[in-house]
Symmetry: C2
Subunit: 181 residues, 2 copies
Amino acid sequence: MHKFEEKTISSEQIFKGNVIDLKVDEVELPNGKTSKREIVAHPGAVGIIPITKEGNIILVEQYRKPLEKALCEIPAGKLEERENPLTAAVRELEEETGFTTTNLSFVTSFYTSPGFANELIYIYITDDLIQLEQPPQGDDDEFVEIREVTLDQAKQMVLNQEIHDAKTNYAILYLHTLRKG
Amino acid sequence: MHKFEEKTISSEQIFKGNVIDLKVDEVELPNGKTSKREIVAHPGAVGIIPITKEGNIILVEQYRKPLEKALCEIPAGKLEERENPLTAAVRELEEETGFTTTNLSFVTSFYTSPGFANELIYIYITDDLIQLEQPPQGDDDEFVEIREVTLDQAKQMVLNQEIHDAKTNYAILYLHTLRKG
């Protein structure tokens, strides 16, 4: 048991949705007092860094309703129930970019917002892209547009905040590190 | 208007909490169909990269109830209502590490989970730390423990996933990039 562990006294389910669930836990703190924790349950997600033969990175532009604007991100998507992240990464790559691959390398994983959500995102990279003749249909409520940019352009997009989400910022910096050592 | 914009048809407030709110929006998609979006509203947050005179990074270990385990992270915290992120960064640095500073540089900002939440996190860095004689009391439901590690140790902790959250992974890689150019 961790010395700061918060023991669950009670748990109230607030919402069960298609993407997330919400519960409020009453917890016992290390000092014996109690507090409430608002917790979003998320199935987890994958992000893929697709590198073309020319060394460019493929990004997708997508409208993000929580922000009421479009973001430019690496291809990504949430896991289906009990899905292997590697399987999900191939599916999302195919649906969002029209490319597939037989060679995906795991880069890292991280929690996106550990203060209020359990979402864990797995990041993969591939420089071995194969154009699909007939790309699979994606989710019917998802609309994305592909952009291919050089790594220098991507870095500039991070600096001027055209690229503005955790996984994509991380991906660009990771590529930069790979190149520079 | 963005070509993929999703027009709100109706919005149902599900939950209003201390940290997050939850709503479900019914939206009109670009193809005229409708869908539902589950949206977490978050006030935003700050993360600080504190560098000691010796060039080490200060991390805090904290129990994260959504994960049911402790994580090692850079000092961080959520914004109060309408709070300037710079003010919040000084406060969180003082509360969580016992250091203050008069010199914080903005590094970047990013959305942590744009698929379901609007949380925007602002990252700052300082290598100009001043030990406080009487550190302020933090939130009374927050228990953290400081760890000071070298940048090489931190990188190793990223690789073996002891460091495992978006803002901290990003911070370590950012420092690595700064040093290596």
